[in-house]
Amino acid sequence: MSTHTPAVELRLPSRLGFEKVAMSTAASLADLMGFEADRIEDLKTAISEACINAMEHGNHFNDLLLVFVTFTMEDNTLEVRVRDCGSGVKNANPHKPDMERKLHGEEEARGMGMFLIKSLVDEAEWVRNGPEDSYTRLAIHLPAVLQEGSGSL
């Protein structure tokens, strides 16, 4: 069995709907690694939000610009990087949405994506590499009880 870390890469057009390709790929890989169904749903939602942010805020829905999604399967961790051609987010600490304030128009209805991402995965960070290169890194870990029985891919 090969010992290198398996990785899968997708190149998505900056068009709404293609985030579902990343969601299904994530689901397949997480299932292969032995993640439970609820955890896979969490990851799918987080990846969807990261891809949409990349398409919208990073690439401004420019069809000529791609969103690169890289999945890396470590022993106990599935890491996902969603890269776009934007300058990245300045504030990587999303505030917790206040639904009461939203309902009364005192807070923007939108702007929950980063909070959702951070809430749903074990690790989330937003990295700025330059004016035209940034990425969101997400990771989920297998619970210790599953790690003992997980096979190598």
Binding site: S48, I52, L103, G105, A109, R110, G111, M112, G113
Partner: protein, 83 residues
């Protein structure tokens, strides 16, 4: 590239039921807010939002639902969820 959102409206006296189908994303704005506009503000006191046939709802879709709730709140209507 996103499947269209479908909404059906059933009026039962002071109750209106909005049944959503398919994806709810930023592309659903006209359909979602347009459906609420069809609900009578004079006769309908309670609105049931049925999401049981929604296959995909992202944060932009949640924001649309919040906008709809804001409108209902302003009109003094009560909203409940299902699905």
């Amino acid at each position: 590239m996103t499947p269209p959102t479908k909404v059906t409206l059933d009026n039962e006296g002071a109750l209106a039921v909005l049944r959503f189908q398919g994806d709810i994303t930023s592309a659903s704005k006209d359909v979602v807010l347009g459906a609420y506009e069809q609900v009578s503000k004079d006769h309908v006191q309670n609105i049931l939002l049925d999401f049981s046939k929604v296959s995909y709802l992202n944060s932009s879709g949640i924001a649309l639902v919040i906008q709809m709730l804001m409108e209902a709140n302003r009109s003094g209507q009560n909203c409940r969820f299902s699905g």
